[in-house]
Symmetry: C2
Subunit: 333 residues, 2 copies
Amino acid sequence: MNKQVILKKRPEGLPTKDIWSHETSAIPEPKEGEVLVETHYISLDPAMRGWMNDSKSYIPPVELDDVMRAGTIGKVIKANNHPRFKEGDVLTGWGGVQQYFTTDGQGHFKVDTNLAPMTKYIGALGMPGMTAYFGITEVGKIKEGDRVLVSGAAGAVGSVVGQIAKIKGCEVVGIAGGPDKCKYVVDELGFDACIDYKNENIYDGLKAHCPKGIDVYFDNVGGDILDAALAKLRRGARIVICGAISQYNSTEIKGPKNYLSLLVNRATMQGMVVFDYADRYKEAGMQMGMWMMEGKLKTEEDVYEGIENFYPTFTRLFSGDKRGKLVLKIKED
Amino acid sequence: MNKQVILKKRPEGLPTKDIWSHETSAIPEPKEGEVLVETHYISLDPAMRGWMNDSKSYIPPVELDDVMRAGTIGKVIKANNHPRFKEGDVLTGWGGVQQYFTTDGQGHFKVDTNLAPMTKYIGALGMPGMTAYFGITEVGKIKEGDRVLVSGAAGAVGSVVGQIAKIKGCEVVGIAGGPDKCKYVVDELGFDACIDYKNENIYDGLKAHCPKGIDVYFDNVGGDILDAALAKLRRGARIVICGAISQYNSTEIKGPKNYLSLLVNRATMQGMVVFDYADRYKEAGMQMGMWMMEGKLKTEEDVYEGIENFYPTFTRLFSGDKRGKLVLKIKED
């Protein structure tokens, strides 16, 4: 049987457990030209919160009574004359929060698990890693010597952003919640400094670590931290708007009251969606894989187990109680 | 004697009359290498409000007990061996709110009043015109067919922005306060439409006039209108942050709560300060002058008289009770 997590209601604020129902249906049969995939890992991403809202966005919302949308990686266990995929192939794509699904292969990519374990393909070599790569290089336009600030620095995207900036010769300051994460960001990931927003005044931290101001701010969080970063911009600074996790569960979004710093500093605030770079994922993946093999890019997954634990694992995205890429294991590799 | 307007206190909110004092001093003598200028017109600009705040900005604040900073145009009435300027030359620059001043000429430019009357050189051929030109072309990056939205459309900057966009083949919608201004913007300036924000719902107006959304928004006002524009962005839209007159007298700035539209639409919000384009003013001035002579660019000045009327004239910037470039005449040409 196929265990599935179905979206039943639209959340207001932080999603509660009853937003989803756990249902069981028959394992589907692949039609002619389709494959049946058994999911091994489900990717948990802050963006999922946005997909639950019934509002215009960069992709349509998840429909009520549909399987909850999620990135996945899994193995083809049955192929019905698929032109490209065969039994045993490992596919990453939009499988959703369920154990099995059939697909004609659109939006799914075959990966080589001899090169990297499955979890990397939904982490640093997947959407979060691609977001980091194109966000900081193409939108942030980092160059050697830039002072780069990254929020969510211990997270799936932020941790990679900061390391890429270090590789490119920038000075990098992270922002993360709690001393353990900050220690990880500096000692393990090699950032120059990390501000603990839960225990430090963010303005004081920026004064100490970015005394001359910020050239690039990569924003994953929005809210007060975005305002603090705006207050410290240098001339010609770039702000990459990648996410706003502090605001996703708010009914009233907090706009950045310091936005006129953009005027004073001739600065730019630009939004990004990783899908726009799909035709360059391969190029970026090769570069990232190279850095990983050279030991320059460290990535970590925080793995929880069992589809029945989808809800408590999902909430870790917003409580901050995780490190690196948050992943739900559905089946042993 | 020299009548001067001196900044005595820092304002909170809308400046009150007692912020300034009117003082009279002796007409200064130009030192060796200086000229004495008699001011004919003073430029009144929303930016003046920002210069009164004691906070880090793109130029230092006006010091207390100093003459209030303002752009001016006037005539050299005495030259003391100045290397470039002689008696009778007409200079535009930062003369301040006073009848006479001496200068070594730094930051002052000689203009030809045979080509255009004095007021144009502090209007469409001066700072507001340059702001419009570089803002909409360089920051807004308009191209033929773009749907361009301009707030403050009847004002010194907005009126020029919209006309340049029309010249460049864009569809242009203005936002202005009151039916008279809106009629002026459409009938006289040639915008395709104008939304009266004082009497119309701005969201409805945008729906009607920008049904497919906005490619470029040139923002002079901030606040609710910025939020409405954000809600209607098209993919890859550009927002030019030129000013925020609705916020200048607020003690708490209203941040744009719809800023995540930048993410959804991969849009850019960029601030500008006209001074950065100083080495290209001449090129822009020639282009603007050409358009004016061809009848493609219409500009208007709203002229009030007498330095003693500085305060009531200044308040028109914020009451909106003016059309085109607001100017204070100090002396007959």
